[in-house]
């Protein structure tokens, strides 16, 4: 459905309202992949006056006008920044959903305690925050034998969480839901993202798919749903620029079988015998030098599909289907050995960034005008 169809009327009207209310944005986890990508994407929207990025580490991507403040998840500091900068929209992109990316204790600290601190920083009667966007993940639903084929947003996971990141997600989402209930005037959006693939992002699946032989549990061919990294950034952007309260699944069209995915990547499968269920699956693979995060163990047997129609109904459109996402990744993986190491890594230098932003000697106006003029010349206008 395109947004201008009669059914989209309601959300279309909100679109305008939401577009006006988002002017000053705070992005958490700006040192992580998603925070940085989102900050870069939002920089091109003129109606957004200020973009503040906070994070515990220095960003690894270069920003045009996003201001970086190095602060970990301390709610008193977040609160001070939020009030001082009159932030109206907070976008929380910090969640760690790959258990190999951080040790469980650290991930828990970031995922659960961190979320609570950020929420505390946004709460309060005199808080300027009107909108809170939380990037969650479809791992929230888990993966079990008696799951529905397509999880809908209103469904709860049928079994208690197994993996630590799943437990974190459930706890963090509960905190966000509680926050939404206590602050009814605030627009709270939760995006549950499916497994992400793409040339830039590194996830458990991109790592698994870059192996020469992709492990499969013998006798199982799980249904998997993916989403392209750019679509995640656009989905966060859509939530920032429109008012879409509620919880939404973000996943590309199409659920693929793992065998089909491996086929599309042009790889071969390595069937692994897992005689007594998941726990023993990881062990033989680890011996082969392949680490499978615990949240993937069940997924590799039972798979997971989600219903993505609710977010599409708010006017969001995906750039890629699951199949196209996998094909793109396959192209990238073939190209990678050729182009590897060519990108010049960006290093955040506080002094340089501050000079470029604040020094009276940097001639901002002129350089912008010149930039526009140069563009016109190229176009021949």
């Amino acid at each position: 459905m395109s947004p201008d169809e009669p059914g989209g009327g309601g959300s279309g009207a909100e679109h305008v309202v939401g577009g006006d209310s988002t002017k000053r944005v705070l992005i958490t986890g700006v040192a992580t992949y998603w925070g940085a990508r989102l900050a870069q994407a939002l920089e091109s929207f003129e109606q957004i006056e200020a973009i503040i990025g906070v994070g515990a580490h220095e960003p690894r991507r270069e920003f045009e006008r996003t201001e970086f403040v190095k602060v970990s998840n301390q709610h008193s500091l977040i609160q001070r920044i939020v009030r001082a900068a009159e932030i109206d929209t907070v976008i929380d992109t910090r969640m760690v959903v790959n258990s190999l990316a951080a040790p469980p204790q650290e991930a828990h600290e970031n995922n659960v305690i961190g979320t609570m601190n950020i929420l505390a920083g946004c709460a309060g009667p005199d808080s300027p925050v009107r909108k809170f966007i939380f990037k969650s993940a479809a791992q929230y639903y888990g993966s079990e034998r008696d799951d529905p084929a397509f999880f809908e947003e209103r469904m709860r996971r049928p079994h208690p969480p197994r993996a630590s990141v799943e437990r974190d997600l459930v706890e963090a989402e509960a905190a966000v839901a509680d926050f939404a209930e206590k602050n009814p005037e605030m627009t709270v959006t939760v995006l549950r993202c499916a497994n992400v693939l793409g040339p830039d992002v590194e996830t458990a699946f991109t790592r698994m798919f870059s192996l020469p032989l992709v492990p499969m549990v013998l006798g199982f061919d799980p249904r998997l749903q993916f989403v392209h990294e750019d679509d995640i950034v656009h989905a966060l952007e859509h939530a920032a620029l429109t008012d879409v309260p509620g919880t939404f699944n973000v996943a590309a069209d199409g659920v693929l079988a793992l065998s089909e995915t491996i086929d599309l990547l042009g790889k071969r499968a390595l069937p692994v015998l897992a005689p007594l269920g998941g726990g023993l699956l990881a062990a033989p693979l680890r011996r082969l030098g392949v680490r499978i995060p615990e949240e993937l163990v069940n997924l590799l047997r039972f798979g997971r599909g989600v219903d993505n129609r609710l977010y599409k109904a708010t006017g969001f459109t995906y750039g890629y289907t699951s199949r196209e996402t996998v094909i793109r990744l396959g192209e990238h993986l073939r190209l990678w050995p050729v182009v590897r190491g060519r990108d010049d890594g960006y290093h955040y230098e506080r002094e340089v960034e501050e000079f470029l932003r604040w020094s009276p000697h940097v001639r901002r106006e002129r350089s912008e005008r010149e930039g526009v003029a140069a563009d016109r010349d190229v176009l021949g206008i």
């Binding site: 008696d146 084929a149 469904m155 199982f220 079988a257 289907t321």
Partner: protein, 308 residues
Amino acid sequence: MAGDRTSLSRADEAVAEGAAPPSDGRALARREGDEMRALLPAIEPERMLNDWGRSERVEGAFDRTLYEFSYRYWFRVEVEGIANVPDDGGALLVSNHGGALPPDAAMITKAIREEHPAPRPVYLTVEHFFKGYPGFSMLIPKIGGVAAHPANVHRLLYDERQLVLVFPEGRKGTEKLFKDRYRLRRFGRGGFVEAAMRAEAKLVPICVVGAEEAMPIFAHVPALQKLTGLIYFPITPTFPWLGPLGMLGYLPAKFKIRFLEPIDTVELGGAAAVDDKALVQSVAQEIRARIQENLQEMIGKRRSVWFG
């Protein structure tokens, strides 16, 4: 596999427990349904599998070989009332079930493909435990099996408007002994009726004669069932004497499939009447009675188990 047994006995009844779509105003619900239907992922023609994991290639291979042979030469299937299967829209096919590892589902699917003027794929609801068995977990979705979750049935019937086949007797049907053949078991808790009403899909009762003789069960051995971890351990003419392959040793009984007059759930009140438990129960009872009645008539007329 301790969890298997509980999920087994619940599977067919679980159809009852789906979350209801908003039912404030019928027209509104219908409009909403159409809008959400328009947002379903488009079909990608390059793919060999669909989103349920169904594979044209695997299904076609089965269809051309095993199904074709059983349908034409082994069971010599005879079909009545195929016109009762609607040409379009969602419909829930409700059939009796019998014999160890019953071949009835495959034969009903094949009958619709062979005899129906507008053949359509049939999705078969299977119990969740199959997803936990290596091999089965891989194969069953590829040939059209879908876990009997209420949300799955609703999506297939309501959003995708497909044909879905259920066996409301569930495992109780396949477990029954030869001496109890063609005596219908309890039809769950009427969950299948609720699913059809919620989706406003037609209910098509089906009678199958022959499956019970194709693989009769003479006894169960619970001790061996526990030992092997199978769902049950039946004694049939070929199992366990021929080993696991014995589970495929069907006797060449003559199959007769009769599709009965469909029941329009919209006339019964549709999605708005789902909460009327008395109505749901009485519809389930009526379908069961109609299948039982027709089965008895068909068996009464049958001269030979093998030649019909």
